[in-house]
Structures are given as C-alpha cells and as structure tokens.
Symmetry: C2
Subunit: 141 residues, 2 copies
C-alpha cells in the first residue's frame, strides 16, 4: 500500500512552486535543486501536471511553471491521480476487467471499493492552499 515517489515528489514540488512564485514563473531547475529531485524526473511529472491543467508553462528564458488555478481549488487528489495512474486499490475496477478469478459476485469487492473512496475522499479534502498555509506557519516560527 505504498504511494509512489512520483506522488510524493509532485505534491512537494507543487507546494514549493506555490511558495516561491510571486506571480512570475518558477523554473524546474530551482525546484529541483531546492527539493533535491532529479530535474529530468521532475520534468516528466510536470508534463503530466500540465496535461492535467493544474499548471501552465512559460517557455524561454525567465520561463517556468505557474499554477493554472487558485491554490485553494487544487486538491491533492488531483495531483496524485495525475502522476500516479491507478488510484484504485485493486485491478478489477480498472476498466472492463471482469471480477477477480471467482467469476460472479465477489464479497470483498465492495470493501476495496470503499477503501478507494476513502483514500480519494481524504486526498480531495486537502487543498494546495492548506499545505502552503501550513508551510508558511512553520517558516515563521
């Protein structure tokens, strides 16, 4: 039941981005060095984040990434889902895949389904703005 590092990195990077942006784009190079994440790896993550429309990119010198929306409207669930394809805890509810081995009805199915909903629900209850506020609080101390 592990979260991929992709998800962890993506969230950290998004917090960093929000924290260090003063309206102007933030380059991945900066984020990578601050958060100590491989630049190329980060690029892959932001590619997905951009496709998912949580960030915008500005090319050229002085370019970088910007939040596409207000940080209060970006939920962690979104970020995680974008970089970590399957959020569902079991394979049988991916797509069309018929139930697990034991054909017909599977008692445990609803359990995993419920679990998945909890996970998503929790992650969706937290916004980027929440984390940033938190981080600012820590800083000032």
């Amino acid at each position: 039941m592990r979260l991929s590092t992709r998800a962890q990195y993506a969230v950290r990077a998004m917090v960093d981005l929000t924290l260090n942006s003063n309206g102007s784009p933030v380059s991945l190079r900066e984020i990578a060095s601050r958060e100590n994440i491989s630049l190329n790896y980060l690029e892959q993550l932001f590619h997905r984040l951009k496709k998912g429309a949580v960030v915008l990119s500005v090319r050229g010198p002085g370019g970088g990434y910007l939040l596409a929306r207000d940080s209060a409207s970006i939920r962690l669930g979104e970020i995680v889902t974008l970089v970590e394809e399957p959020l569902a805890p079991v394979a049988c509810m991916d797509e069309g895949k018929k139930g697990c081995t034991r054909g017909d009805v599977c008692v445990t199915h609803m359990v995993w389904q419920g679990l998945g909903e909890r996970i998503r629900g929790f992650l969706d209850s937290i916004t980027l703005a929440d984390l940033v506020r938190e981080a600012r609080g820590e800083e000032k101390r």
Copy 2:
C-alpha cells in the same frame, strides 16, 4: 496506490475458510481450488497469518486451518497488515528512516500520515464476521 494481490487473496481466503468451516479444519487445497489461487502461494500467506495468530493449523490427514478467534474479533486491517508488510504509504515512517531528502520538517509528512491512519481505520472497522454475513446474504438470494 495498489493493494497487493496477497492482501486480496488473504481476505478472500479467510472469508472462504470461515464460510466452509464447521468446526473442523479446512485444508488449503480446498480453499485454493475454490478460490482459484495457487496452493503454494496460499501456503505462504497462511504461514504469515498463523504467525500473526489469526489462524491455527492442524497437521496430518484431515488437518487444515481454523480461525484462532471469533470471526467478529478479526479485523481486515489485521489480515492485510500481516501479509502486506508496509501499510504506511511512504517510506519515511517505516523505522528510524529520517525524513525525505529535504532534511528538517516536511509539510507533506503529516498528510501521508493522516492518509495511513484513514486506511488503517477503515480496514479496522470491518470484521471478518461482517463479510461472512454479507456472503451468506448473497448466497440465499
């Protein structure tokens, strides 16, 4: 965020075991064939379940496994934890491991911690007895 098949199989097998036991031991061979799980694989799982004291084994002909306790006192969280070592969603809270890359305080840490608690809490809110009751209900229909 995938659950291992180990966890899925273990829960299914435990339900099967409870459902098909009339006080006498149930052999893994039976369970394996009913649930369509490799026998040797199941053996590994039950080895862990036995170490975790949720089942007892009876050797020799006519032997098999029995619940070690009442099904109402066996929570899914227990079963899952036993067969799937790390239930914590991130590595940094495994043991002693100091925080992720960015030394000091990590804003996201508490998020993952909260997530872990939700997962465990949900799984612990469901007992084997709940599932068995459910399964019996489906059967009668």
